[in-house]
Amino acid sequence: MDGWVHNRDQMRNSAAASTLSATPDGAVSLDQVAVEARARLFSSRSVKRGSKLFACNLIITCTDLTTLEGSDTRGRVEVLCAKAMRPVPDDATIPAVAAVCVYPSQAATARRCLQGSPVVVASVATGFPSGQVPAEVKIAEAGEAARFAEEIDMVMDRGAFLEGRHLKVQQEIAGVKEAIGDRHLKVILETGELGGLDQVRRASWLAMEAGADFIKTSTGKIQPAATLPVAVVMLEAIRDFAWATGREIGFKPAGGIRSAKQAVAYLVAVNEILGDRWLRPQRFRIGASSLLNDVLMQIYKERRGGYQSPQDFSEA
């Protein structure tokens, strides 16, 4: 009840107040059991042969190849960037990934390595992964990261969200958006910390209203990270937001997606909920560190007609 009033209140205050419409908005309720049943339908789609090749290629072009470790070094980032630009060095038919996703302190290195390639730099920011740093620090960090990165993956302030301070959440997102100028903003909701699908829906809406270009499930540092039911909820929120405002927001599942099969299920969900306009890196990304090689193995399995060995693909 209170949350609803809050939400309405903020909508009036926010720049996106015009998104209020007859269509269900951020406060729509959800039924977990039915969402899970819907998610099972997506993962049970049988994607084989040509469709699988299509999916695997698309997954590569939509991948944000990620390393977010305390132990990240320039050397590690260089290796990752090489892999991002040419996933299989001797096979030019394998496309480059969409972006390399790193901590702000590695953004300059990534920028240098990726110069001249279509692969962009994405940097996490705003006190990733917890977001528990002062607001000024978040703004400063995002601004600094934006000097080298085309895309900023900020973390939503879950503390404020769970306290019901939705306006603060939105103001912070809007502040970061302002600080990074024309850089693309992905807002990480960290859905595993929100407490339920109703909250995922609400957080998605808040983030989109406040100026997110993408909404992203997770940091990868919290379990559960990306799940298909959460994806269903976020994709339907994106659809409703497009209906309400005409703006097409992107979707990025991240965390725990390690197999091509998992990734294909997300792609199927995007395909069946949002369709063609989202089947491209401008609207869809997968954040992953170890997914790429499994996707490559699936591609070669389809091409060569036999099972592959992980040893044949470079680490990254």
Binding site: S29, L30, V33, A34, S46, T61, A98, E272, D276
Partner: protein, 512 residues
Amino acid sequence: MATSPPKTSARPKSLDLLPDAPVPAEGEAGVEFPNRLFEYEPAKESTEHVRLEDRYGLFIGGRFVNPHSKAHHPTINPATEEQLALVAEADASDVDRAVEAASRAFLQWSRLSGGQRARFLFRLARLLQERSRELAVVESLDGGKPIRESRDFDVPAAAQHLFYHAGWADKLGFAFAAGPGRALGVIGQVIPWNFPLLMLAWKVAPALATGNTVVLKPAETTPLTALLFADICRQAELPPGVVNIVTGGPEVGAALVRHPGLAKVAFTGSTAVGKEIQRALAGSGKRLSLELGGKAAHVIFEDSPIDQAVEGVVNGIFFNQGHVCCAGSRLLVQESIAEPFLRRLRLRVSRLRVGDPLDKNTDIGAINSRAQLDRIEALVQAGVGEGAHLYQPGCELPDRGFWFPPSIFTGVAPAHRIAREEIFGPVLAVMTFRTPKEAVERANNTRYGLSAGVWTSKGSRILWMSQRLRAGVVWANTYNQFDPASPFGGYRESGFGREGGVQGLAEYLEFS
């Protein structure tokens, strides 16, 4: 084995969609969020492992025998119209033989201990699971239902029914205040074509668990899984005559339910035939349970979880091509959200994949028979004639076989035929309401009363509604859920008696 139906579509594909590849134009043919780039190639379930006989006899006294008439009729694949096998045409003398075999078997079967009967039922359940892929494929071949449904629902649910009732067989003494009850005798069972194996399990499992023996007549268009089940009975070494299966048309069913040797008739099928059976058994003292037609209301309140409600509505009316007695065929949506709800519903329906039942990605398979297709087409024509507005997504249908696209009628008045008559096909009639009271009145304004659905986020309203909806099953914030532990059956002209649960068990026992 049968060949696949013609390919339903050839959508454009691009194998190397690069970041700057052109984006498809918005909104072709009124479809919002078009999705034609990423098409799933046919993923056909293999039929290699299925070996059907050319010709099947009647299963009487534990073996397959020739019908008295020597006549056989073909059973066809409704997706291709190709013949699958020849099936025996029983007549009254075959029914006599079957009832006689069941009567003889009853003497021993009813005297076995519950534990011994349980063993047999557990065996049947296990064998069903072991042969589940074969059964699922044959179910889809013979009936036209998507393999995803026969594989994930029909066959596992049938096995679950056998397991559930196996567990009752040795606990009858604990089930009822009135005592353990006594088996009735020979049960005549007539089942429909929409869930052939599952309806068989619903009928056979409780009957056998309680010590009765059965003569079962599967539907004329879908006899094959019942005949495979007969083989499973042999494999399980079920005593001869405990389960007898007679195939054929409506005359066989009529002869069976009127047979003087029966103690009870259990029928699932149309209301018209149910009434005939009730009339035929009037004053005979024979037990009767009827599971008949429906015209279920699916009520959507403005505070419902809207996308899940859309999913529930889709599942409610398009599950098994709408060949479901409890299908949610009347959508009652609160006027305040009618527009956003229907927008989502149309989008969702545009994503349904109609086609080859054996394709693992098919959502809607073939209509079960030419006769049923004719009936659906006639009623849809009537709906158009009465002035309702018809929406069908632009899906291409195969040339051969029996097909009908998912269909949504808006602008439906409660008096329209499509709002009153059971269509038994993928056709939804949409109406609106303003208040909960009006929703209840509209929902109950039918001679049927099998099931109802209600969607709302308000707990007290769910209970208020479920008290007032005159239906044997109320699905709240869900739809089309079934379980052997959960009694299923109707109010009013949807029949009487329950199947499933301890209440369903009592239908097969006599007390006092």
